[in-house]
């Protein structure tokens, strides 16, 4: 099957970052995203997800490689200083390149 090379960016962050993050995704050129509610432990302590103040989300988005670069750069300069957040990218292959 003919597949196309894309980047998947995964962001795990506190739930308060939800709106600024989703705004940034669309500005960076994402055409869609998937969001999960998660819990975990990290640099800023346990996030038990028992009450909204301690809720955590994970967002996954598949993008063109250039858009993924833009997204990661803007995450670093705009959101990392403000929120408990990590992000990483990985290589993925998709069937319909035009969807991303």
């Amino acid at each position: 099957m003919n597949t196309h090379s894309m980047k998947q960016v995964t962001i795990v962050c506190e739930a308060y970052a939800r709106e600024p993050l989703l705004t940034l995704l669309s500005e960076a050129g994402a055409h869609g995203w998937t969001l999960f509610e998660v819990e975990g432990f990290g640099h800023q302590g346990r996030r038990d997800a028992d009450i909204p103040e301690y809720a955590n989300i994970q967002v996954q988005v598949v993008l063109q490689p250039s858009a993924a670069d833009t997204l990661l750069e803007r995450l670093q300069s705009e959101l990392f200083p403000k929120f408990a957040m990590i992000a990483y990218e990985s290589d993925v292959r998709v069937i319909r390149a035009q969807k991303f």
Binding site: Y16, Q44, G45, D48, D50, I51, E53, F83
Partner: protein, 328 residues
């Protein structure tokens, strides 16, 4: 210590609401697998806020706005003033950075609805009447301190943000707790006693049970933060107990000045003493992201809230009595 006060503390500790709170604390300390889903926590807060707002609205309808406005304005001013003394104490005695001092002072000026509800419950169990429209004070005291706290941080030199003040006003005014409270107040006021009658089966009858269930969860939520107490330091732990006592006295005193009954004075004291852990954290996290959330959430949730629920309520009633709240 006054034997009446000891007796009152004992009575409070044996009320179902507080017993369930202590059960929640115990469950967490014993590492029980008991856990409420976040959605249930949110459902219970929606119910409690709407019910207390609605009941208060019906009471405003019966009492008339003329009676409510003066104590409401005084409550609002009190909420806005609390950060003004809390901030310098944290800044200079506690040596907190400006942004943390401002964030914590916003939480202590703002209010905890559940502490208020527990106080109403306590008055009921002690057969002391109060102004039923006091829920209006709760509603107007949530936002002002948050705004003052953010302004203090700006004055303290926290890096200015582009749209931050807009965000804080939006969060402080339409955040879920204020929206539900004010919405409930309006619905209760507009529909009056008739509205109370048709919704009594839902908003009044199961209320005590829902409160007990919620406090069970709050006991677990608070106890999960006990491990953070070592991170916040002795100063903030002492502050989390002393600030409520001072603010509570201030609230009781102002209540007696504007002519509230004994129960009303105590409730205003409780509101002043309580620290927000729903409205303020959301607004502060978005508008002052540089502030360390462990400090304000741990002090509000793991120190002040448990203190107020277990020992604070009888103490504030005693203070209100001493300051001359009239027994009706």
């Amino acid at each position: 210590m006054n034997p009446d006060l000891l007796q009152a503390i004992q009575t409070n500790l044996l009320s179902p609401a507080v017993l369930f709170f202590l059960l929640g604390v115990t469950a967490t300390l014993l590492k029980s697998d008991l856990k409420f889903p976040e959605s249930l926590y949110i459902t219970l807060t929606i119910y409690l806020l709407l019910a207390i707002g609605f009941k208060g609205g019906v009471a405003i309808h019966s009492a008339g706005l003329a009676k409510v406005w003066l104590p409401a304005v005084v409550s609002m001013a009190l909420g806005a003033m609390i950060p003004l003394w809390v901030y310098p104490v944290l800044r200079h005695l506690g040596r907190f950075p400006p942004v943390d001092a401002a964030a914590i002072s916003a939480h202590y000026g703002s209010v905890s609805a559940v502490t208020f509800i527990a106080a109403v419950n306590y008055l009921k169990e002690s057969s002391i009447s109060h102004e039923d429209y006091a829920a209006a004070f709760l509603a107007v005291m949530e936002a002002p301190a948050i705004l003052v706290g953010v302004l203090l941080a700006k004055l303290g030199g926290t890096s200015g943000g582009d749209r931050k003040l807009g965000i804080v006003i939006h969060e402080a005014v339409v955040g879920r707790s204020i929206l539900l409270l004010v919405g409930g107040l309006f619905a209760g006021w507009a529909s009056g006693p008739k509205g109370a009658e048709v919704t009594a089966g839902f908003f009044i009858a199961p209320f005590q049970g829902v409160l007990a269930l919620f406090l069970l969860e709050m006991g677990m939520v608070a106890a999960r933060r006990f491990q953070d107490l070592k991170k916040v330091g002795v100063f903030l732990i002492a502050f989390g107990v002393l600030a409520p006592l001072i603010n509570g006295t201030l609230g009781c005193w102002l209540g007696s000045l504007v002519g509230l009954s004994l129960g009303g004075c105590m409730l205003l004291g409780v509101l002043a003493a309580s620290a927000s852990y729903i409205a303020a954290p959301a607004a502060i996290r978005l508008s002052l992201p540089e502030a360390n959330p462990t400090l304000y959430l741990t002090s509000a949730l793991a120190i002040t809230f448990p203190f107020n629920i277990t020992l604070g309520l009888p103490i504030y009633l005693e203070i209100a009595l001493y300051l001359g709240g009239s027994q009706p």
